[in-house]
Symmetry: C2
Subunit: 438 residues, 2 copies
């Protein structure tokens, strides 16, 4: 290819084949429709923002990953999540919004991470958030698992667990033990329990912490049983700390309302070890795991935050929300063969003409489309075998063949590409078959 530019997509940027894209779009649409069922309003903020606005809150690792550049006199950046644009939005349009403001946004975000298998630099996030003006009832936190539950059910999953915790419980525990400054280190040690066992964790903790305190921590992390048992055990710890008791109270109310909102008992549980985003979340936190594929990590996470837009306004706006990282989830599901795009198609029918007379083809295409079917007319001059091959490649189930006989007798020949069955029928009978078995 002399003098030609080599066409290539950048590493870390997902680009799908059409059949994969069909499946991806179906999942995206399922999530969107599910979010809308709960009355969330759509937003679509710009991908490019003023760098100073976007990075008002950022720092550290985030700032390094950001795509930031100048254009003319403008210092610009690509959004790295959908939460900062939401904070900007609710502050900028505060007077025109109604609170609680429920919004969903599904869009691409950008992080210049080191490209790895299944880690993308451009990826979709699918977020819902409920933002209060000044205050926001804890019952909102209980509706979130219902949204997660219904969304993953609609995506075709049955066996998944929404894990729930409240940051105040851990914070309160450490406060009561006067270990709040050591909390990160303690959590790091606790995190190893699956690998090294409870005894080793205890020994490590004892290196720097008094025995009584370590024993309280060990009693805390040993809490087990069903949700009611866990609540009871937390009460029995008798932690004399306001933050702890507040978190426990919220968790109790949350569990009660999650049941009322219809999430089955085996799809959610209290998990006192999850502690996402230490800095960001201030109350309820959620993580969601596919039971058979826990190794995939959380497929839907989020939580409650006290103050969404503090970098933009003095107005206090508490919120609660979740996010599905769709690009990564899609990659994982395909990679683990949990879903497959192999048989995906857009068209229900491919119409093939055996003559130069396209009148009947066009007429049938129009009528089928009026019947809410997706229909492609094969127009190219090709042999019939090549046309069938084309239908095959596109996974189209039905081919309609229009030749001289069909035109003369006002019938059509319908071939089921999956079974090979071929029949000559009236249009009405053909439509019935196509719609029935589609």
């Amino acid at each position: 290819m002399k003098g030609k530019v080599q066409p290539k997509t950048l590493p870390g940027f997902m680009e799908l084949l059409p059949n994969e894209q069909i499946l991806f779009n179906k999942m995206k649409e399922t999530i969107q429709k599910s979010y809308e069922k709960y009355g969330f309003l759509p937003l679509d903020t710009p991908i490019i923002e003023d760098a100073n606005v976007l990075l008002a809150k950022a720092g550290g690792e985030t700032e390094k990953q950001i795509y930031r550049f100048e254009k003319g006199e403008n210092d610009l950046a690509l959004r790295f999540d959908l939460t900062v644009p939401l904070a900007k939005y609710v502050t900028e349009y505060y007077d025109k919004l109604s609170f609680p403001f429920k919004r969903y946004q599904i869009g691409k975000v950008y992080r210049g991470e080191k490209p790895q298998r299944g880690r993308y630099r451009e990826f979709y996030q699918c977020d819902v958030d409920i933002i209060g003006d000044g205050k926001l009832s804890i019952i909102n936190d209980a509706e979130i698992p219902s949204i997660i539950y219904n969304t993953f059910k609609k995506l075709g999953f049955d066996e998944f667990t929404i894990c729930i915790n409240n940051r105040k419980i851990l914070n309160g525990l450490f406060l009561s033990l006067k270990l709040e400054n050591e909390s990160a280190e303690i959590l790091r040690i606790i995190d190893k329990i699956d690998k090294i066992g409870a005894e080793e964790v205890k020994n490590e903790l004892l290196k720097n912490i008094e025995i009584e305190k370590v024993e309280t921590i060990m009693r805390f992390i040993a809490i087990d049983g069903n949700n009611d048992n866990k609540i009871k055990s937390l009460e029995e710890l008798n932690i004399d700390n306001e933050v702890f008791q507040e978190g426990l109270g919220e968790l109790k109310q949350l569990i009660k309302f999650i049941k009322i909102f219809g999430v089955p008992e085996n799809n959610f549980k209290i998990d006192l070890t999850i502690a996402r985003g230490l800095d960001y979340y201030t109350g309820t936190v959620y993580e969601t795991f596919l039971d058979k594929y826990r190794n995939l990590g959380s497929v839907c996470s989020g939580g409650r935050y006290d103050n969404l837009a503090e970098y933009y306004t003095d107005r206090k706006m508490p919120g609660v929300g979740i996010s599905i990282g769709l690009s990564r989830l899609f990659f994982q599901l395909v990679d683990n063969k949990i879903i497959s795009a192999e048989d995906q198609s857009i068209s229900n029918v491919l119409i093939v003409s055996m003559t130069d007379n396209y009148d009947m083809c066009a007429d049938i295409a129009r009528k089928l489309r009026d019947n809410n079917l997706n229909v492609q007319i094969n127009i190219e001059e090709q042999k019939l075998g090549k046309k069938f091959k084309y239908a095959d490649n596109l996974n189209v189930k039905y081919v309609i063949i229009i030749g001289e006989d069909e035109i003369k007798n006002n019938v059509i020949t319908l071939k089921n590409m999956f079974t090979g069955e071929q029949n000559t029928l009236t249009f009405e009978d053909a439509v019935k078959i196509i719609k029935e078995t589609n």
Copy 2:
């Protein structure tokens, strides 16, 4: 706001209020579904590409408008249309695609133009293209107006005209007159005909061109009447040029098949004056005008090109396609009050609890959602009047009120917010009313 960053969206970047976004998304989805009806496959290429790949073909004005920047060692650029990424895609994945390759893509593109009213730096394009491998039948060109027609019908328009021309006719005319080098200047003069009249155009042309040639040009631009008359007049010009005759032949075939594909006579016409993208298109060209709002300019344009990916490959891939600039179109339609987002809402029903008992609210919400309705539960502690105001602000048509009486008698109170009518009913009767009148 001491120490706070002022949240602001960049000029030239569209950001809508929720009700506007609902309407925008409906239009986007209508276009998507319409494209899928014709069997176009979805694509979603990255917004960021390697600058050398993206700019292989670009130059001049485009290059100046591009968002181009470095990240690490990478020279990156944001896509400025969806055609170059398509050229990249079909070359990169050639072996995995089936031709003719029909794809749609709906996505944001970026051009750092001077921001003006209704001109955006980030805007949606909604494209369909049909790409052939080596060749592509002219009948594909005839299916395009059918796609335009059905898409704009579904968008709610009746009075619009798809204007059709063939670049070869103008090119051939100029070639036959040996004026091919003056073509741009001649077109510029012809373009003024609405303002200055035919006589003045003739006088201007006569300054540099012989009288016989000017008379041929004047006969050409005077061609009028219905499509068949225009074809006849073009034939009667007796232009002895291969390119002209080829274009005329294509146009004749095109008009015949457009009718067969079901576009009504008053929604399309030959317009010999349209000549979009002199460099890019090589045959058929399309522009679409809303009859009552011709001043908006073309709302859907496109054409046939001989060679999509010549900067990437020696393989010849002819194509034909169209694009709807949705962001600009949406702005124009709202700005001219042709559409209004005022009454748009996501939720069909808002459920309001008058007690602390949410069991029945949650139960009803679940059942309504199962009935394919979008339902929001109002959870905040507010007075009833404030809850009604909230429903009003969100344009929600129905409010369901659950108080002690409703729980006791297992009924619901349904208020139609548009009429003010309020009734206490069984759940089943309420669902019937909501679904009937929605």
